[in-house]
């Protein structure tokens, strides 16, 4: 076998491809962003000016307000929606590397001195989210703000965009769980912050750091459940506790149980439990 044949074989296989519709949507968004980029520059410049005015006004009147309304700095041409944006008038309460915030309604607060040069909105399809290309005191940064489950706003940033597009940054930052059917750790015996431990899609399991996969049963054969999609049952360990998840690649309402909470002793019993519930 020559090297070419060996390459042909070694590169065969792989998980399922990204759906065509997703590829097209990403392309359309790139077109919209390219079109928007020219327009956003002037809007961002206007926002910077308004931010300066807000700061000076606050200093002059001695007002003790955390934020001051300003022009929408991250607006983009239709069909991207415009967000309400404020600019903070003080650095108090801002973490060292925190340049922008979002509330549950999607309103943005920019740190004092921050201007927005580009925006991706939404950054995560189907989520209240925005990615911002921002500058402050001559430094540039990407920021991603996403409304997670339970009203939690996740924020992440990159100091050196390094040639990446804003869209690529958002893709790199976003947990793949956001687009996956996931099993959630409910935070002990009652309600708590949702923590996705394991997800399943395209024939692969996704786990958060700290999770150990103990074993997997592919296609656990649960009649009339998630019939058109790949399924898997998985036993994981997380923080010295065992969890059982039965996951489908479609929107199949994945099942998640724990011996400690639900009294289900084995992975087989978790499967049987779901089977009897169908």
């Amino acid at each position: 076998m020559d090297l070419k044949d060996r390459f042909d074989l070694a590169t065969s296989g792989g998980p399922s491809h990204v759906p065509l519709g997703t590829r097209l949507e990403l392309g359309r968004r790139a077109v919209r962003r390219r079109t928007a980029r020219r327009a956003v520059g002037s809007l961002a410049a206007a926002a910077t000016v308004v931010a300066g005015v807000a700061t000076l006004a606050t200093l002059a009147t001695g007002q003790d307000r955390a934020t001051e309304p300003a022009a929408p700095a991250v607006a983009a041409p239709a069909p991207t929606p415009t967000r309400a944006t404020t600019v903070a008038t003080s650095d108090d309460g801002w973490a060292e590397d925190e340049w922008a915030r979002m509330d549950e309604q999607g309103n943005i607060t920019l740190r004092r001195g921050v201007s927005v040069t580009d925006t991706l909105d939404p950054a995560v399809p189907g989520r209240q989210s925005v990615a911002l290309d921002v500058t402050r005191e001559g430094e540039r940064r990407f920021v991603l703000l996403v409304l997670q489950n339970g009203g939690i706003i996740s924020s992440s940033g990159a100091d050196q965009p390094d040639g990446r597009s804003l869209e690529q940054f958002a893709q790199d930052e976003v947990s793949p769980f956001l687009g996956l059917p996931v099993a959630l750790h409910r935070g002990g015996r009652g309600l708590g912050a949702d923590l996705p431990l394991v997800g399943y899609d395209h024939g692969e399991l996704y786990t958060v750091p700290g999770v150990t996969i103990v074993r997997v049963i592919e296609e656990p054969d649960i009649e009339d459940w998630c019939t058109k999609h790949e399924t898997a049952a998985v036993e994981v360990r997380y923080k010295d506790e065992t969890y059982f998840a039965v996951l489908g690649a479609g929107n199949c309402e994945s099942s998640f149980t724990s011996p400690g909470v639900h009294g289900i002793p084995t992975l087989e019993s978790a499967i049987a439990n779901l089977r009897s519930a169908i």
């Binding site: 090297l3 296989g13 996704y206």
Partner: protein, 169 residues
């Protein structure tokens, strides 16, 4: 959506469906990870989508996308990766086995390739898998032909060493 845009999108869709597997195989050879390969291909296809209306009949989309792939900073991309750990289920690995290649050999080639410096790896893939000439490879990578030759000989020698005599290249 305008009629032209719809036509472009239909043609783009046809191209993606027909060629995404091949493109990802090239990306996989370059980076050694299916997820990163997916990311690289998506990045390249998005750029192709933007360029599609400008591509004329005498422009080969394969060459356009391949150039984006091989000119990407594969290793830099790898360093900034923040994806959560993943565990591939056995289904994907059955393909190589079905095709008659032992899994160890399947892994060994990709692993050995990833051990090469990035530019050597790209030259080996372009020259010895995709069959580009020295001149074409030099143009594709934006380097001179002498550099292609030296990368090629060193890359092949390193692969041969890594794979051992029984898998001599």
């Amino acid at each position: 959506m305008a009629r032209h845009a719809r036509q472009h999108e239909a043609a783009f869709s046809d191209y993606v469906v027909a060629r995404q597997d091949w493109l990802r195989r090239v990306a996989y050879a370059l980076c050694g990870d299916w997820h990163r390969a997916d990311d690289l291909v998506q990045e390249a296809l998005t750029k192709l989508y933007l360029a599609w209306p400008r591509l004329r009949d005498n422009h080969d989309p394969d060459a356009y996308v391949r150039k984006i792939l091989v000119r990407a900073s594969i290793d830099a991309h790898r360093h900034r990766e923040r994806r959560v750990p993943t565990v591939a289920l056995v289904a994907d690995r059955d393909v190589a086995h079905r095709l008659g290649m032992p899994l160890e050999e399947h892994d060994a080639l990709i692993t050995a390739l990833q051990a090469l410096p990035e530019q050597q790896r790209k030259v080996v893939v372009l020259r010895h898998w995709l069959g580009l000439s020295v001149r074409e490879t030099a143009t594709e990578l934006g380097i001179n032909e002498g550099t292609v030759k030296s990368h090629s000989s060193r890359g092949l020698a390193a692969l041969q060493l890594a794979l051992g005599e029984q898998h001599a290249v």
